[in-house]
């Protein structure tokens, strides 16, 4: 039987009854590549067979299983996804069980930070399924679809009603929905060398529930995993144990530039069950006993010899090194070069500044950990907390040289990673898989904090030159920005590099991440320049660069918003008023006004009349920054106290406004906004990767400092929800809005521009002593 839905054309879903069963009837929703789609023609052989698992199952007992390759990364996806699909199906979110991230049990793949594409997918999956369920109900109840209503999984029409479970009772039903996209695979032509970052995308435009009728989306449903996390019931990726499993600790050189001279001896009398495994520069100590592995690794490491490598400039020389690098053409350029150059050349007033930031770290509380079981026939299972299981699977298969069909990646909760596994690389998974292949046993690899802070990729330091011209009214007439940074897409697996096994080669380059907020600045030219990893002619060695929360836009927004604040001051205009002069975007205008009201903002120009750079006691200031990203409009107001004598900067209050379209879960969004502020303040005040000429030296929490509770400001959150603007991203963003607002507040307090973060006491002291102050 085939029930035709009302969708015409080649991408119509099909509902097929496979047969009747005595027990356990279900509707299984999976996908098909449309026969005529160009994308389908490009799909590699085996694409369909590697993914024959359902997206959604509606079972006879009225339970609903939703499977997604996206995962919970600590921002609330497990709540949002369940709500979005529950809404389309008209059921309670509690009736939905989410299965996330396992490559053999989820269909779609994709990177986990992509709420928008993930939610759009599940919304359509839900909508297609809902239509199919209506069709089944119409058939069973013998009433037209138009006469049916659904409430909490009960379909009613002309006085009769059926639960979803009854619609599928004793039947096996298959709904195939159309998708495009390619499954993840190693692909040297892709910019990150892994194809399929977005996973599969559902095609077509099934009728979705009008937002005005929403009952589930927009309510603060609780996050599903929390009770287990606070009672110790959650099984984390670090908890996986397998029979015969060995614990491994890695012995690393100082950096990728060093090579192994000799491995230290293992004292078998002290460590009787430990063994050392070496493959080129990959060295590990393994033992059935984790403490023995740890102790033996320390002992072996102290006697292991490596060649010296010193290709880094030292973190104190980073900016100078970036400045002197011979940049080629921009890797991306946007805007009107001729108009901008002409406008800047003829302007009566221009403002130019250079902004900079050091390398920073994702720095999760739990270092990388993974378990791998590689069998003699190549069958491989990896347990991970990667944010892109399918991408990781592709890389593991490539490194081990086994067919991708033989590799399964299973996902479990672990520490939030903030984008470092978005491309499916990096981490302990490669070490574990390689060691398991060599040892012939399951291997669990636990990186230490020192391993993690030294060996995981970092978000690269950068420099941006930015210039604008002002007219007589103080309005920006043209703007030119040049962003310079080492590349940030080195998603290579560390173990594969060290062991000399197949891997990917990252491409040098950068991109313009800014979503332009100032439509009244028509003449603009944005350029982004990328280089290989710092300290390397090609991206083989050196400081590995990788994206991190709000990638690219965090960096570029700091420069843009800082320049706008400097321009406002130069024009003698209140910084909020100054922004309103440069946009007609009503969503931006609304969130600016709402946030300003919440912070009781009183218009005046910066710096504060009482600004000072010397003297006893703290001096207060305030500053603003905005950003548009992923259909979300952000506005931040920072209030700070600077103590000139000590160079200490305390953020006392941060008011953060957000319009992210239709808010899915206000409470979880508030949690994400407040916690995003913590990372933003941390980046503004504290975070800096320190390295010498050979290696990263900030390899503990006392050297790589992040914000503590005592340093956290009072945070006030403003949310605007809109029914007519779709969903927007809410968990990135905050960390990008805070730093320029804090830098502006510093200027407001002191009259001294802060063009570099972090604003550490040492840097602030230098700034206050050195730079000429702007007169209030």
């Amino acid at each position: 039987m085939v029930v035709k839905t009302d969708r015409p054309g080649s991408i119509a879903p099909t509902l097929t009854r496979r047969g009747f069963v005595k027990m356990g009837g279900a509707l299984m929703v999976s996908f098909q590549f449309p026969a005529l789609s160009a994308v389908a023609a490009e799909a590699p052989p085996g694409a369909a067979t590697t993914h024959l698992v359902s997206w959604l199952e509606i079972r006879q007992d009225n339970t609903i299983l939703v499977r997604t390759g996206r995962t919970e990364i600590g921002t609330g996806m497990s709540a949002y996804y369940a709500q979005v699909i529950a809404e389309e199906l008209s059921v309670r979110p509690e009736s939905i069980t989410l299965l996330m991230g396992d490559t053999d049990r989820t269909p779609d793949g994709g990177y986990s930070a992509g709420l928008l594409s993930g939610a759009a997918n599940l919304r359509k999956v839900g909508a297609y399924t809902y239509q199919a369920l209506l069709g089944l109900a119409a058939e069973k109840l013998r009433v037209p679809v138009s006469a049916l209503t659904v409430d909490d999984g009960v379909v009613s029409g002309t006085g009769k009603s059926l639960r979803y479970g009854q619609l599928v009772q004793d039947q096996q039903l298959d709904l195939k929905i159309p998708v495009s996209g390619v499954p993840a695979r190693v692909d040297p032509t892709s910019w990150i060398r892994i194809a399929g970052l977005d996973g599969l995308i559902v095609l077509g435009d099934p009728p979705t529930k009008p937002v005005t009728q929403y009952k589930v989306v927009g309510k603060s449903h609780p996050m599903p995993g929390i009770p287990d996390k606070v009672t110790g019931k959650t099984q984390w990726s670090c908890d996986v144990t397998l029979p015969g499993m060995l614990h491994a600790r890695m012995i690393r050189p100082a950096t990728l530039g060093s090579t192994l001279i000799s491995v230290g001896a293992l004292d078998k009398t002290r460590f009787p069950t430990a063994q050392v495994i070496t493959k080129q520069n990959l060295v590990a100590v393994l033992s059935p006993n984790e403490w023995e592995a740890t102790s033996a690794a320390r002992s072996v490491a102290s006697a292991t010899k490596w060649t010296e490598w010193s290709g880094l400039p030292g973190s104190e020389n980073l900016t100078q090194t970036l400045r002197s690098y011979k940049w080629g053409a921009p890797s991306e350029s946007r805007g009107k070069a001729a108009d901008v150059n002409a406008a800047l050349a003829h302007a009566s007033k221009t403002i130019s500044a250079t902004y900079e930031q050091p390398y920073i770290k994702h720095a999760p509380i739990g270092p990388f950990v993974a378990v791998a079981d590689v069998r003699g026939d190549g069958t491989t299972t990896v347990w991970t907390h990667s944010a892109n299981s399918q991408g990781l699977r592709a890389q593991i298969a490539n490194t081990l040289s086994v067919p991708i069909e033989k590799v399964v990646v299973r996902w479990l909760d672990h520490a939030g990673q903030f984008g470092r596994t978005t491309f499916g690389g990096d981490g302990a998974e490669g070490d574990a898989a390689i060691l398991s292949q060599l040892a012939g046993k399951p291997v669990r690899v636990q990186w230490t904090l020192q391993d993690d802070l030294a060996w995981s990729a970092s978000s690269p330091g950068w420099v941006e030159d930015i210039t604008c011209s002002l007219d007589g009214r103080g309005c920006v007439t043209a703007l030119h920005s040049g962003f310079y940074s080492p590349q940030s897409n080195d998603a290579r697996i560390v173990g594969a590099i060290l062991a000399g096994m197949p891997g990917i080669q990252p491409e040098a380059g950068y991109w313009i991440a800014t979503e332009w907020p100032y439509d009244k600045i028509e003449n603009r030219l944005e350029e982004a320049y990328g280089m290989p990893n710092l300290g390397a002619d090609s991206s083989t060695i050196g400081m590995r660069g990788l994206i991190m929360r709000t990638p690219g836009q965090r960096q570029q927004n700091f420069a843009l918003e800082s320049l706008m604040n400097e321009a406002a001051s130069c024009a003698g205009i209140d910084p909020i008023q100054f922004r309103l002069l440069h946009t007609t975007d009503q969503r931006l205008i609304d969130i600016i006004h709402a946030t300003a009201r919440a912070a009781a903002w009183e218009p005046r120009s910066s710096p504060h009349p009482g600004a000072r750079r010397t003297g006893a006691g703290p001096v207060a200031g305030r500053g603003v920054a905005i950003m548009i990203r992923e259909n979300s409009y952000w506005m931040g107001i920072a209030e700070v106290e600077v103590t000139p004598e000590t160079g200490a900067v305390l953020v006392t209050k941060l008011t953060l406004g957000l319009d992210c379209g239709k808010i899915i879960n206000p409470r979880q969004l508030e949690r994400c906004m407040k916690s995003g502020v913590v990372m933003g303040v941390s980046e503004a005040l504290k975070e800096e990767v320190v390295f010498d000429k050979g290696k990263i030296t900030s390899t503990s929490w006392s050297r790589y400092k992040i914000l503590t509770m005592a340093e956290m400001p009072e945070v006030k959150v403003v949310q605007l929800s809109r029914d007519d603007k779709g969903f927007g991203g809410g968990s990135e963003g905050a960390n990008a809005v805070c730093p320029p607002a804090i830098a502006a507040a510093f200027f407001d307090a002191t009259g001294v521009n802060a063009r570099r973060i972090p604003l550490t006491p040492a840097y602030v002291t230098t700034l206050l002593k050195g730079q000429p102050a702007v007169r209030p």
Binding site: T234, Q235, W236, W291, D413, G416, S675, W701, A710, M712
Partner: protein
């Protein structure tokens, strides 16, 4: 191999075979199969591994097994029972009761990734035991300045933790 040591954990006695120098965290996770306390920094700088030893917060990643023999070790798995005992609840009631701190962590929706939260909960239980009505500065101080290190959360849940500690204080004093 040395003779087995006896460890008092969450109200029960366990014979453990690990060597006395093994950090308590390794014993709890690998031998006693608890997943509450977690490996963070391994050098007592983050708090993810915190447990209670005779009521005081201890970083189990550096505390050798020998240092806790003869003492009462409590992890988040044992908090409900600890509370039930304190309140003199019967078995049935105890089975369905959480420690007020855990309940507050659920009610205030504290965990994001949740990795550090076991240690945060332990720190909160210890704080509320010492100080049933902590002020905001006292809460911030307890999670930041108490040796050996601040309790770190990279997701940035500090505001939620403060809310939850205050809620737990209220319900424990009720």
């Amino acid at each position: 191999m040395a003779d087995p040591l006896t460890l008092s954990l969450n109200g029960a006695q366990h014979l453990v075979s690990a060597s006395p120098d093994t950090p308590l965290l390794y014993v709890l996770r690998n031998e006693l199969k608890l997943s509450g306390p977690r490996m963070g920094c391994g050098i007592a700088q983050c708090g993810a591994c915190a447990v209670l030893v005779d009521g005081a917060e201890v970083r189990s990643c550096i505390a050798p097994l020998s240092s806790v023999v003869g003492k009462q070790v409590i992890t988040i798995e044992g908090l409900a029972q600890l509370w039930a005992k304190k309140k003199g609840l019967g078995d049935t009631q105890a089975a369905s009761t959480l420690h007020p701190v855990q309940q507050a962590w659920i009610d205030e929706q504290v965990p994001q990734c949740g990795y550090c939260q076991s240690g945060m909960i332990i720190a909160a239980v210890e704080l509320l035991d010492r100080n049933p009505n902590p002020t905001l500065p006292q809460i911030k101080d307890a999670f930041t300045n108490k040796p050996p290190s601040p309790h770190l959360c990279r997701c940035g849940t500090y505001a939620a933790i403060i809310d939850a500690v205050q809620l737990a204080a209220k319900s424990m004093n009720a």
